[in-house]
């Protein structure tokens, strides 16, 4: 931080504040200049950093894989094609293990989720002060770089998966079949329909919530620890930062994988008749 050194709690709060653009009750559509202002904007606000970085990472994914796809040969693959094929084969294998129906959407969906989330998580390994500091010099107050530490991003993706679950449930089982599944399981008796309905609806809604919150929780906790480490004296930072970053290499991959696999599993359930 340039100039006066902020207190640790200020520093942490600053790092965890998104760059918010929204409709402020007093200022109208504007950038929020403090956490309180962002709070006051309510629902009609957009986290520009989250959206920007996530779209950038998504575009990077599409660009890289599209590039590999354009030059994809059946002969000897190049380096990029090799890497891309490795990822695709891994995803394909995972999907084949978890998904038993026939649906050509699932594998590309899983690939997108896995690579996109991985790339977004990967942003975390860039030291916590680098990019925010650059943006601060450019006059941008807040920059929370890792989209997956924003529950909006993780729950947004989970919502996408949830909509697909509903869509495929209706498509495969029909409205009647889906309703029957919700009301007659686990207890197949008419008197227990309300009970079943409550249970099943909770179960259904918990799926996207758990998906999104698990990813968010893991990433957020990791980010907070990175920020705490960054508060240490400079000679102590690397002692903790390096092991934590190495450990996080595992975490970011694992969390991307868990999100992907669970999405596939949920979609598989949506395809199966009970």
């Amino acid at each position: 931080m340039a100039g006066n050194t902020p207190s640790p709690s200020e520093y942490i709060r600053h790092h965890l504040q998104n760059l918010t653009f929204g409709k402020h009750p007093e200022n109208g559509w504007s950038l929020a200049h403090s956490a309180e202002e962002a709070q006051e904007m309510g629902f009609w606000a957009l986290h520009l950093d989250t959206m920007g970085w996530s779209i950038a990472m998504g575009a990077l994914f599409i660009w890289l894989f599209r590039k590999a796809g354009k030059v994809a040969t059946t002969g000897v693959p190049g380096t990029l094609q090799n890497v891309v094929e490795m990822v695709i084969e891994f995803v394909e294998l995972t999907v084949r293990g978890a998904f038993h129906g026939r649906n050509s959407v699932i594998a590309p969906l899983a690939l997108t989720l896995f690579v996109w989330i991985f790339l977004m998580n990967f942003l975390k390994l860039i030291p916590v002060d680098y990019v925010p500091e650059i943006f601060l010099r450019l006059g941008v107050d807040y920059m929370k770089m890792v989209p997956t530490t924003d529950p909006n991003a993780t729950l947004g993706m989970a919502l996408g998966v949830f909509l697909l679950i509903i869509y495929y449930s209706l498509k495969v089982k029909g409205a009647g079949g889906f309703a029957k599944e919700l009301s007659l399981t686990p207890f197949n008796h008419w008197s227990l329909i309300p009970f079943n309905l409550v249970m099943e609806l909770i179960g259904l809604l918990v799926k996207p919530l758990s998906l999104g919150l698990r990813l968010f929780g893991n990433m957020f906790a990791g980010e907070v620890i990175f920020i705490l480490i960054a508060l240490l004296p400079f000679w102590a930072i690397w002692v903790l930062d390096v092991p934590w970053a190495i450990f996080h290499l595992l975490i970011i991959t694992l969390q991307a994988f868990i999100f992907t696999v669970l999405s596939v599993v949920y979609l598989n359930q949506a395809h199966e008749h009970h």
Binding site: N18, T20, G22, A38, Q39, M41, G42, F43, W44, A45, L46, H47, T50, M51, S54, I55, G58, F61, I62, F65, R66, A68, G69, K70, A72, T73, T74, G75, P77, Q81, V84, E85, I88, E89, E92, S104, V105, A107, P108, L109, L111, T112, L113, W116, P147, D150, P151, N152, A153, L155, G156, M157, L159, G160, L163
Partner: protein
């Protein structure tokens, strides 16, 4: 941690990326992968087939070699037999020829002897007649004594 429009925005971004991946990213790479898999499988197949072919060919070659060796030895044996036979035949022929020559020569000699004897006999009879003429001082009627002279000649 405010929940706001970012949630919707992220869902839309997610939908767009998934659609793009489904449309433009997944198919070419997946196709290339599967095609290569097929190509490799075909290649391995062809290789194993070629190995089997090679084995067969080697076997056939060995067989042919063995057969030809056998044939060669057979031919050699035959030739040997034939040459021995030829030598034998030639020897036989030579001996027969020799015998024939010897027999011919002997026959000629005998003939010669006969002829000489005949000549001698004739001369002896003439001589005898001449002698007798001289003794008798008269000529002997050759026609009258022909029979006698022949008989004399035959006795010689």
């Amino acid at each position: 941690m405010n929940i706001n429009m970012t949630l919707i925005g992220q869902t839309i971004a997610f939908a767009i990326f998934v659609w793009f991946c489904l449309k433009y990213v997944w198919p070419p790479i997946s196709n290339a992968l599967h095609e290569r898999q097929k190509k490799i499988a075909d290649g391995l197949d062809a290789a194993s087939r070629a190995t089997r072919d090679l084995e067969l060919a080697q076997e056939r070659a060995n067989e042919t070699l063995r057969e030809s060796k056998e044939q060669a030895s057979q031919i050699l044996e035959q030739a040997n037999k034939r040459s021995a036979q030829m030598i034998e035949e030639a020897r036989e022929q030579a001996r027969a020829e020799g015998e024939r020559l010897v027999a011919g020569a002997r026959a000629e000699i005998e003939q010669e002897i006969h002829r000489a004897k005949d000549e001698l006999r004739a001369q002896v009879s003439t001589l005898a007649v001449a002698g007798a003429e001289r003794v008798l001082e008269a000529s002997v009627d050759e026609k009258a004594h022909r029979k006698l002279l022949d008989k004399l000649a035959a006795e010689l």
